[in-house]
Amino acid sequence: MAAPSTTSSAASPDTPGTGPLPPALTDAVRDEASLRRFLFGLPGVDQVGVEQRAAGLATRSIKKAAKLWAIDTAISMVDLTTLEGADTPGKVRSLCAKARRPDPDYPDVPRVAAVCVYPDLVETAVAELAGTGVGVASVATAFPSGRANRRVKLADTELAVRAGATEVDMVIDRGAFLSGRYGQVFEEIQAVKAACVREHGPDAHLKVILETGELATYDNVRRASWLALLAGGDFIKTSTGKVSPAATLPVTHVMLQAVHDWHRLTGQLRGVKPAGGIRTTKDAVRYLVAVHEVAGPEWLSPHLFRFGASSLLNDLLMQRRTQLEGHYSGPDYVTVD
């Protein structure tokens, strides 16, 4: 197994992105046995402890200016998502309009970070969002199950990138991971990363979906996080949203801890994206508190933290209005797209 490709987006320390690995980690990815040894050498995660900590932090009380800041920051971190079999160009165009201008009555509301669609709708989204600064994320690699031949997965990715996706949300092969074929998962992430390279223009950012609901244990989440970081994922993402449980606070804690430790070790900043099941402002604020206090203040940025969500945005907008207007107006005052 080769060291991860460093051809793309070589980043200086302390900037988001990937880059060459320090010597300690180059050893870890030398071959499959080293990789396994490294992943099993990571400290375990105590379930009771991490759940207790997550519940404790969730009691933080965020009010007034701090709440408004959190709402605006959360809006700017939303990957506005539609991943339905029934998706049409019309639906995607309407979602893009929402992404550009989330609340027509309040032009100062920040734009969302990206719109997230299936690969065949990337072109529509790219056309709608040109020049707005809103990214287009495409799921790829036989999302959501990941059960396909690697050639299909890579073609899926390449087509999405060619269509103009600025971000690719891939799924890992959970079957391979659960049967202990870590090298296979690692190589596949590397291969997808390579498929994100664009000859003209910046490479697509790679988000690696771990599907933590299928990994089941926090130890597995930690190992999968490190595996994805080692293989060059720009973001680690909890879930596809198609499996229950999707994102949870304790799982996100473990992943935030991983990117934090990764930064301590390599100087590189990588991101985290919880996805699925985050529907209310209250939830979003709890996640931001975890970002703030577990990973650190640097991660309070759309470059390093995203919410994969659809209905969350409207709740954020309603709560934003409540903060500004002093009363709650209700769901009829925000646009449903």
Binding site: P43, G44, V45, D46, V48, G49, V50, Q52, R53, T59, R60, S61, I62, K63, K64, A65, A66, K67, L68, W69, A70, T73, Q257, L288, H292, E293, P297, L300
Partner: protein, 506 residues
């Protein structure tokens, strides 16, 4: 906080530096997100200018010198509390005796249970009031009084109410008898919770109670007295006498008392044991501690860090079972300390009423001086001191969370109970060395062990001389789990079936 910044729009985008001096903030840094102050309203406490003692079902003025109880976070006087003189102690003990002989001692357990259940429910109903009052009087963060002290106090009454009609099945014979009048003296670190620990089992077993709360924190115990009235508890079953150590001594030495229960310092515990020797009074003591929290190299390190923080910084370290000695295996010591420092720096010290405060005020100037003196001795003896960079408020008694590394067994900070937010870090190489060092203390209240190896947990727990051994957690309290110590940490158990023995004639 007196100097909290106005929450205005500019605070939205301002960096931490501009608001860094409020004392309510966490570590100084470059966070773009300052949590706005989120104080619980102090009006909820229903604070009154004067509090009287509860004797024979009535709140009456005591004949002792009144004391002023102070909010340790602001140093303002909260209320004037009347204290008991010797004659009041006598009156209270006699009232308790009457209540015992005429009503409570002969009441069927199922009837007693109804009263105790009612007290538990009333504590829940008045939970917010009790939490705010506790925070004002004690200085502990509202997060803890709200989420730990008050709910656990209610849980103790619920648990023991369940025992009242089942004492025949507790393993002390078919019809175990109560002892009579219990004289109980409690400390200032968990004023309401300690009152619950003492009163609930005593009542469940059919005893009546004269309780003396700590001098600096009498208020919530007196509100608990109010709750007893509200629950229609017969007069004299619970009597509450505020005052200083002299009232405690008077109570403990009163010939009408059948049982003495004390939680507090080892020094006072020894005095009490001397004074009740030969009197036939039954005695339980829950005293100091210097608990070891042992972290092996295969531990879940991130959760171990949480457990260490919870072990020593919970309630500003004013916990008799606090994990004040961290014993960490040398092979992970550096990594663990690095994680620990970074985590401790995120603890938010400040206004205890703020819902986001993690570390509140030290309970009294006297205690603050003691902590400061012991911390200074650590530096003088050569330990390496690290304190959280958090800002301290201008007023009130505060002490920044502090971690001493390079600590050796011979140092005072490794041997003496500091009873404050100060952790001493020692290292070990082998499991045997860990056990030897952990047990090398005259105390023996609690211990913690962190490892992913189940067999090692059992091996170690068998060898620890400590009343409680927590595995991969720390400072967890449950009314069904007995609590108590070895050697200079005292004797007798509180909680669980075992704890009933202290209040039964067996």
């Amino acid at each position: 906080m007196t100097n909290a910044p106005d929450a205005n729009d500019s605070a939205l985008a301002s960096p931490a530096g501009s608001a860094g001096s409020t004392g309510a903030t966490g570590a100084p840094g470059s966070s773009p997100w300052e949590y706005a102050p989120a104080p619980e309203s102090r009006d909820i406490a229903g604070l009154k200018p004067n509090y009287w003692m509860l004797v024979d079902g009535q709140f009456v003025e005591g004949t002792g010198e009144p004391l002023k109880t102070v909010n340790p976070a602001t140093e303002e006087v909260l209320a004037e509390v009347s204290t008991a003189g010797p004659a009041d102690v006598d009156k209270a003990v006699k009232a308790a005796r009457r209540a015992y002989e005429r009503v409570w001692g002969r009441m069927p357990g199922a009837e007693r249970a109804k009263y105790i259940f009612r007290i538990a429910r009333l504590i829940q109903e008045r939970a917010r009031e009790l939490a705010v009052l506790e925070t004002l009087d004690n200085g502990k963060p509202i997060r803890e009084s709200r989420d730990v002290d008050v709910p656990t106090a209610a849980a103790h009454f619920f648990y023991h109410a369940g025992w009242a009609d089942k004492l025949g099945y507790a393993g002390y014979g078919p019809d175990p008898r109560p002892l009579g009048v219990a004289g109980q003296v409690i400390p200032w670190n968990f004023p309401l919770l300690m009152a619950a620990w003492k009163i609930a089992p005593a009542l469940a077993c059919g005893n009546t109670v004269v309780l003396k709360p700590a001098e600096t924190t009498p208020l919530t115990a007196l509100v608990l007295g109010e709750i007893c009235q509200q629950a229609d508890l017969p007069p004299g079953v619970v009597n509450i006498l505020p005052g200083a150590g002299d009232v405690g001594a008077e109570l403990v030495n009163h010939p009408g008392v059948n049982k003495v229960a004390f939680t507090g310092s080892t020094e006072v515990g020894k005095l009490i044991q001397r004074s009740v020797a030969g009197t036939g009074k039954k005695l339980t003591l829950e005293l100091g501690g210097k608990a070891a929290n042992i972290v092996f190299d295969d531990a879940p390190l991130d959760q171990a860090v949480e457990g260490i923080v919870n072990g020593i910084f919970f309630n500003q370290g004013h916990v008799c079972c606090a994990g004040s000695r961290l014993l960490v295996q040398e092979s992970v010591a550096e990594e663990l300390l690095d994680k620990l420092h970074r985590r401790v720096a995120t603890l938010r010290l400040g206004d205890p009423l703020d819902k986001n405060t993690d570390i509140g005020a030290i309970n009294s100037a006297e205690q603050l001086a003691k902590i400061t003196e012991l911390a200074a001795s650590g530096e003088a003896e050569g330990a390496r001191r690290w304190s959280s960079p958090c800002a301290l408020p201008d007023k009130g008694f505060f002490f920044a969370p502090t971690v001493f590394s390079d600590v050796h067994q011979a140092m005072r900070i490794a041997r003496e109970e500091i009873f404050g937010p100060v952790l001493s870090v020692l290292t070990f190489r082998t499991p045997d060395e860990a056990v030897a060092k952990a047990n090398n203390t005259p105390y023996g209240l609690s211990a913690g062990v962190w490892t992913d190896k189940g067999s090692r947990i059992l091996w170690l727990a068998q060898r620890m001389r400590a009343g409680v051994v927590w595995a991969n957690t720390f400072n967890r309290f449950d009314p069904s789990a007995p609590f108590g110590g070895y050697q200079e940490s005292g004797f007798g158990r509180e909680g669980g079936r075992t704890g009933l023995e202290a209040y039964l004639d067996v």
